[in-house]
């Protein structure tokens, strides 16, 4: 078991620890394993070689597969209890598909997702329901994630209808009002409809729904990208407060690198269905070793013209290739300024680069590049 040493950032936290599969023989044992608490800093969710291919088909009645969109293609990471793991990447990199797979909203093509040692891709019935209770999601668009025909009370109370064991019937209204209060909304709004609220308030309603069942993990898919700047900060602060209050673990998926740095303990950078680099926020932002991470960071516009002028900018050429037909070898090689023959033939593994291995440096974190080297692109030279 790998220790998550939060105090000692220098010691690279291995991205992938050994999975301790729970030894269960019946559904009730599985449920018991799912209900068991996990210590802070222990892995709570372990994703192994996760793959999701969406088939491309042709034909009307009898469909013939003519290819596949490789949305997620071999992703592995751990989520530790009480931490926030940020996942960043551009559109089409597969980060939202990862969220759907973790929520069991899509069936994985291959790979495993261990929640407390149980592979949730293979669960069903009561055990799956128990997992669903413990892993919740906050959606990107507060305008489409709430049913416009339901009142706020019905929306936040729906988890209790589905999992009646969590709150007895007579207790629900009070619970819903408590939840409204927790997310900073007036409990008297219980009979209002979603369209009577602004974007930020709706996102609070979405968060309240996510909290209702007292989950352990919340997967946040771009939770603030649809909000105005002045409201984003309110929601981010709320999420941080709730994490402390309810001892939550977050997977925070976003394209805004500044917000991810702010909220995350560890960050994974995705490109075309794979993780390019993963490490603590300091390792990724201040000591990136993968060229894609470096390009991504250098492209972020910084609201500070003076800091900007001293920074090196890497402007990538071209566009992200289609995930239906990704490049061989390293997927980033078509846009990479370091690419060599080796990059088109050999897939770089996500591991601590050899040159940094065993060294006591923040650059010693996992990076899927044959020619990984450190480069600070965030701070002014």
């Amino acid at each position: 078991m790998a220790e998550l040493s939060k105090n000692d950032e220098q010691e690279a936290t291995p991205n992938v620890s050994e999975v301790e599969t729970a030894d269960v023989h019946s559904e009730s044992e599985a449920v018991a394993a799912i209900e068991a608490p996990v210590d802070r800093g222990e892995p709570i969710l372990q994703v192994r070689n996760l793959v999701k291919h969406f088939p491309l088909t042709q034909g009307i009645l009898f469909k013939k597969q003519i290819g596949a969109v490789k949305a997620v293609d071999g992703v592995s990471f751990d989520l530790y209890q009480g931490e926030t793991l940020g996942i960043v990447g551009e559109s089409g990199c597969g980060k939202s598909t990862v969220a759907k797979l973790l929520m069991n909203l899509e069936r994985a093509t291959a790979g495993e997702i261990f929640y407390k040692g149980q592979d949730i891709t293979k669960l069903s019935g009561r055990a799956l329901k128990a997992v669903r209770r413990n892993i919740q999601m906050v959606f990107q668009d507060p305008y489409t994630s709430l049913n416009p025909r339901m009142t706020v009370g019905d929306i936040i109370g729906e988890p209790f209808d589905i999992h009646p064991e969590v709150a007895p019937k007579g207790d629900r209204r009070r619970k819903v009002q408590e939840l409204l209060d927790v997310v900073g909304l007036n409990p008297e709004y219980i009979n209002r409809y979603p369209h009577q609220f602004s974007g930020g308030q709706r996102q609070r309603i979405g968060i309240a729904r996510g909290l209702a069942l007292n989950p352990e993990i919340i997967i946040c898919d771009e939770p603030v990208s649809a909000l105005d700047v002045s409201v984003q900060a309110q929601v981010i602060n709320l999420m941080e407060r709730l994490q402390d209050e309810f001892n939550l673990s977050y997977i925070f998926i976003a394209h805004d690198l500044s917000i991810v740095r702010h909220i995350s303990d560890r960050v994974g950078v995705m490109y075309l269905g794979r993780i390019a680099e993963i490490g603590s926020d300091e390792q990724i932002y201040d000591h990136p070793t993968h060229p894609y991470t470096q390009a991504l960071l250098s492209a972020v516009p910084v609201p500070d013209p003076e800091a900007r002028e001293g920074r090196e900018r890497i402007i990538l050429t071209g566009d992200v290739p289609s995930p239906a037909n990704p490049p061989s070898g390293c997927r980033f090689r078509t846009r990479c300024w370091k690419a060599q023959d080796k990059c088109s033939t050999e897939v770089p593994l996500l591991a601590v680069p050899e040159r940094f291995r065993g060294e006591d440096t923040p650059a010693a974190h996992e990076s899927a590049c044959h020619f990984a080297e450190e480069k600070d692109v965030v701070h002014a030279a």
């Binding site: 009645l61 759907k100 209770r133 049913n147 729906e158 069942l213 800091a307």
Partner: protein
Amino acid sequence: MPDMTKSDTATAAPDAVDATAPAPQPVKAEKTRSLWGDAWEDLRRNKIFLISAVLILLLLTITFFPGWFTSANPTYGDLAKHYLQKPQLGKVFSPEWLGYDQQGRSVYARLIYGARASIAVGFGTTIVVTIAGGLVGMIAGYFGGIIDSILSRLVDVFFGIPFLLGTMVVLNSFPERTAWVVIGALGFFGWTQLARVMRGAVITTKQSDYVQAAKALGASTPRILFRHILPNTLAPVIVVATISLGVYIGSEATLSFLGLGLNGVSWGNDISDGGNQIRVAQWIMLYPSIMLTITVLAFIMLGEAVRNALDPKTR
């Protein structure tokens, strides 16, 4: 360099680390509105809607309480008043108001009693096609895959059959054509349009985030279908159903005109009969035709008005 600017701006932060914003004011405090509420606001001011709604209410009253409008018996023929007795337009609401037909029956009374057949067939068929088409569309749209492929092809096959020809073939094999038989025949060939509308609406709705959210909570399929998807697909279905109501009333009259409609009093039958006497007694055909046109128009206008009211883009 960045530190300099940071320290400069950061001084404002401590006094207002008011992250847990106080319960913010609602966007609109006094009015509680929903999509339907908004639509109602829109409809209340819509003249076309008001006119068609009044007409439809009047028609429904006529259907259920024909006795309020005439004391005459629509099937009682007084041969002394055969069809040469012309309308006496001055005698409003009296049996002789709109004249008599060739068997000496009051055209006005037949107009009043004939509404029932049209309305019964119109509403009955609409209910049948909404339920049948809606169900098929919902199953096809929600489950997708091979189920959708099969059901969609089935819809295409039915769509390929000419609507009136199909119903005529079926009705021709029934010697006694009650309202149920006509509704069944029209419904059998008419459900496809609603199935298509419903399927489209369900496919759009099922991809929405709130349905995903319900799935993520572990909601059962019936719960997702009836609590989340159905209420959000009703708007287009209601619009199409209202418009098709008018169409079915027209179809019933067409079938009656062709001698394949309801047995008994109906506008279609009267139009058919009247057609034979059009050169000597135009009124026998004229008045049922006017009523039919007004009725069909009222439902189509109502449907259009509701469609516009429910579609924010047309506002």
